[in-house]
Amino acid sequence: MTTDDHLADLHAMWRIRVLEEKILELRLAGDVVGSVHLSNGQEAVAVGVCGQLRKQDAVFATYRGHGWAMARGVPAFPILAEVLARTAGVNGGRGGSAHFSAPEYGFYGENSIVGAGAPIATGAALASTFDKSGRVVVTVFGDGAMNQGAVPEAMNFAAAMNLPVIFVCENNKYSELTPINDMVRNPDLSARATALGIPATRVDGNDAAEVAAATALAIQTARHGLGPTFIEAHTRRIVGHYIGDAQQYRPEGELEADLAAEPIVRLSHQLIASGVAADTVDAARRRAVTEIEEAARRALAASAADPATALEHLYA
């Protein structure tokens, strides 16, 4: 990877971070209502994975999905408009923060039921075996979803059918508010994939380049007709599970350590240490701020979803 590649990753992560911070601001101001789950700290996984995908590939994400949508190319404006319940939102306000999709960008949606996207992604991969498109499907879920029946069912289905799907587990250490390690006997979640005959790898999810390398291999495996791969990406959520989560479950000092190791801080230090000018590094942030501020301004000015349309699109 070149310095420019790293700077591109940094910019991509800043775009997600600034978007999430803007959504937090709008939620606290009351412009956004309802439950919101931010992905601060986990940006490197979305950026590392999506950077390897082609346009035709498909991502199925979770309610913590704003960053994944953005990494797939969905612009900030329709995401913010969606979260703000505007007509111009990606789904005209029907999906909201936790359940929107933008298939025109290969983003097949967030899902607000833990683990439920995995079987659907498996189905999308099943379609690839018939349409010969070469489409690879990524399904991302958290560590908590590993304890939900839908995920192992989907993994075995994909293994048995040899489907081109990549299971990405964002292991952020907490299943909602409970440590994953208190809810499993074997903390190596990837071992479950191995047991099902799926090649599995554990990567540093705070390193976009490492995530990208694992993804590239998984994509190659899938496109060659060799079936699914499981990637366990270790990362840390440096915000609450949802906006308003008091996070009393965190041991003292943990958040400080996580903040020092989060992917944007880390990559910035790395770039500066390698001789890139601090101003060049900071430009990635400034560009993101300019973009998101403008998008937010437009989204706030956009018109609210029209109640007269509430019953549309129920049926064909």
Binding site: P103, A116, L314
Partner: protein
């Protein structure tokens, strides 16, 4: 090409599946034991041979199966998936209630899920409590999911083809006691009809009876008995429950002035209550209070004699209709 053939109910389902797989190159058919074994009731026999890998067996993983149907449908396939027993649907209800139902609506139609779920339900002699339930009402409480239930070979064919042609998720509920029933002359091969509508099984002047599923034959037998007593029942079979033909029921009740709904499902919370409520809400003038005849809000015992005490029998239907007309 239209032609008339003699098929039993199971054969009609098989013919509809074959025709749908022919009509839609994007159609795929899968489920537990449906391909190589040809289905536990033999309904999908021969389809694997005829259509190759488009017809395949799956693990016993209803959530994965339904998710696979939804995801492949989003990507342009037209999946037909079998849930062997309605009772098994509940291990995967999330995929229907939270997932399939929302695909079109939440995405403003950018995504669709044109999938068909075939299942079968109801009690049969000796069936245990987990293989006997009639659960259509649960599905009918979920906007976004179309629901049909058939009882004749012709409808088994026609409704399934309409379901596959429909661009929304459709659950087609069959009944295993019908599969090996008598052959009937049915017409096959035409274009699939749009979803919806009802079947007028018996015209009558004294009472409107609305029913659906395999119990329809019991209702018709009861109506024939009552004819000998001079009671003329009109029997409407609602093969489509969503969309439901409320207008047809209202029109019939406007003529007869009486309404009885019969279903094998539990009375409480059953769809019969909805049918009655719609008629009452419409302000229809009724000569007697509307009635519901359904299962007695019980678990379903395996013993045949016990099950008969729980589920509506022909005598229950006859006495219910008699009381409605007398009332």
């Amino acid at each position: 090409m239209r032609e008339t053939v003699k098929l039993n109910y199971g054969g009609a389902v098989n013919a509809a599946l074959a025709r749908s797989l022919d009509d839609y190159p994007e159609a795929i058919l899968f489920g537990e034991d449906v391909a190589v074994p040809g289905g536990v009731f033999g309904v999908t026999r021969g389809l694997r041979k005829a259509f190759g890998p488009r017809v395949f067996d799956t693990p016993i993983s209803e959530t994965a199966m339904l998710g696979a149907a939804i995801g492949s449908a989003m990507m342009g396939r037209r999946p037909i998936v079998e849930i062997m027993w309605m009772d098994f649907m509940f291990v995967a209800f999330d995929q229907i209630v939270n997932q399939a139902s929302n695909v079109r609506y939440v995405s403003e139609g950018r995504l669709t899920a044109p999938l068909t779920i075939r299942t079968q339900q109801g009690n049969a002699p000796g069936a245990c409590a987990q293989h006997s339930q009639n659960m259509e009402a649960l599905l009918l409480h979920v906007p976004g999911i179309r629901v049909a239930m058939t009882s004749t070979p012709q409808d088994a064919y026609d409704v399934l083809r309409s379901a596959v042609a429909c661009d929304d998720p459709v659950v087609v509920i069959e009944n295993r006691s019908l599969y090996a029933g008598p052959k009937a002359e049915i017409e096959i091969g035409g274009d699939p009809a749009p979803i919806g509508g009802h079947r007028l099984r018996r015209p009558g002047a004294d009472v409107t009876v609305v029913t659906w599923g395999s119990i329809t034959s019991r209702v018709l037998a009861g109506a024939d008995r009552l004819a000998a007593e001079g009671i003329d029942a009109e029997v409407i079979e609602a093969v489509w429950l969503n969309p439901f033909d409320h207008a047809a029921v209202a029109a019939s009740v406007a003529r007869t002035g009486r309404l009885v709904v019969v279903h094998e499902a539990n009375t409480t919370g059953g769809f019969g209550a909805e049918v009655v409520a719609r008629v009452v809400e419409s302000g229809a003038t009724l000569k007697s209070p509307p009635r519901r005849i359904g299962a007695r809000d019980s678990r379903i015992p395996a013993a045949v004699g016990l099950a008969a005490a729980v589920l509506p029998q022909e005598d229950d239907i006859v006495s219910g209709l008699r009381a409605a007309v007398a009332g």
